[in-house]
Symmetry: C2
Subunit: 287 residues, 2 copies
Amino acid sequence: MTKARTLQPPLAIVAGGGTLPFAVAEAAERGGRDVVLFPIRGAADPERVTAYQHHWIGVGQVGRLRRLAWNAGCREMVLIGSVVRPAIREVLFDTDGLKLVWRVVQVFRGGDNRVLSALLQHLEDNGFKIRGAHEIAPEIVVGVGRLGSRAPGAIEQAEIVRALGVLEANSPFDVGQAAVVAGDQVIAIEGPEGTDAMLARVAEMRRNGRLRTAAGVLVKAPKAGQDRRVDLPSIGPKTIKGAAEAGLAGIAVLAGSSIVAEPDRFAGDADRAGIFVVGVRPDGSSE
Amino acid sequence: MTKARTLQPPLAIVAGGGTLPFAVAEAAERGGRDVVLFPIRGAADPERVTAYQHHWIGVGQVGRLRRLAWNAGCREMVLIGSVVRPAIREVLFDTDGLKLVWRVVQVFRGGDNRVLSALLQHLEDNGFKIRGAHEIAPEIVVGVGRLGSRAPGAIEQAEIVRALGVLEANSPFDVGQAAVVAGDQVIAIEGPEGTDAMLARVAEMRRNGRLRTAAGVLVKAPKAGQDRRVDLPSIGPKTIKGAAEAGLAGIAVLAGSSIVAEPDRFAGDADRAGIFVVGVRPDGSSE
């Protein structure tokens, strides 16, 4: 592919864990744009970052991020990937970081949207425009319809609708970006533990006899008021593995507001695991 | 205490785990009524049942329960205590049990209210009146106000109100008899895993850094449409232990609709653990 370099300034990508940061980096480069990665220590994949110009940062080093990104000529920034919040004693804070000390420890994920907003505001106050990963790499956005060859049946369809209802009911409380429903039973609602831990819980309930209903679905959708630039629901290989181990029939995500790195590869993984994956409208439909 | 035996037929108590069945048995006897215990194998305390006339039953042995209780002259029945649903291959079914095979495996707890209703209906069709434990032993019902010496402060009060809101929002989905809130963050909503497992999850989130907010509260309230004769929210020594290990400040339950075995002893345990326990009105108040 020819890379038509433009006069656009390079894009700063603050990279957490998983493959999404690299999907965004590749998409930006395909679009002819240079990228500078800011991999987060303890989260980003050390192997894959070596393919890019990059500067490691710690969770508390907001000032370092700001200065390095500015000096590299970046004026736009994407924050993408998973970050498990470290213990505060393990965080190395710089001056900017200290200002945000009670805030940055909760960056990226977890219930408090307002904390994340404060960080984004701080970066914008310093001249950066925060862009959503889906704006840079629209190919990672899940559309309406199935991703692999499997599709939900009538039972799964009803489970999807029920799960969307649960997520909507919980949304005002800033909780529940994901839920598991089997039959008409709500099995789990995701809290700060994250999707992988929630799926492990469902698998455990199957083992210990708390859950007897067959199959079931995992459904993910953004919470109300969630900043879609930085916290879109995402699915990946771990989600398929977790769903399969939890004995689920499939995964549904809200189309247009959920992201997946390498959709084709993901679809193949889902088929091999015998799991359907589908992007749905707010009413649960996907036809 | 004098026991004034009446002409009331003996009370059948189907006994799951924990101390609640014995609190009910003692209350009935104090009221001058004979009791016959039907301890559930694998759930009820084998030591404590020896103090009563009793017949062990398996989860699948609905016919055995019905016949033995009837022959003992019982016409009223209380179902009380915790039962972890066994794997279906471990259940020994009799004829009645087989009829209810897909139903009884979910007896007592877990999301499906209608399944429990089917069992109760079956017993009532066979001439038994199902009584609530709280009718027999009103002393186990938590009233408005604190149980120990500690009371919630302003922050905990706001957390209680928020948790009650979450439980109410989830109630139509037959999920969430309990929730944990810390600050304005909803940490966990209880599914079929039960309160103890949910509290263990919160403790784990504290250890792994997913949860940084200090303290927090556990709140329990009945779900809408829950049959209050057999599935009232209950708290006990394990709840205090779990809440303390999860770093919570206290426990609130809906007054009048939640039960605790041996309230005085429980209050002492709570004080020693440094945990408040309070019965609240639907609006969260307890003054």
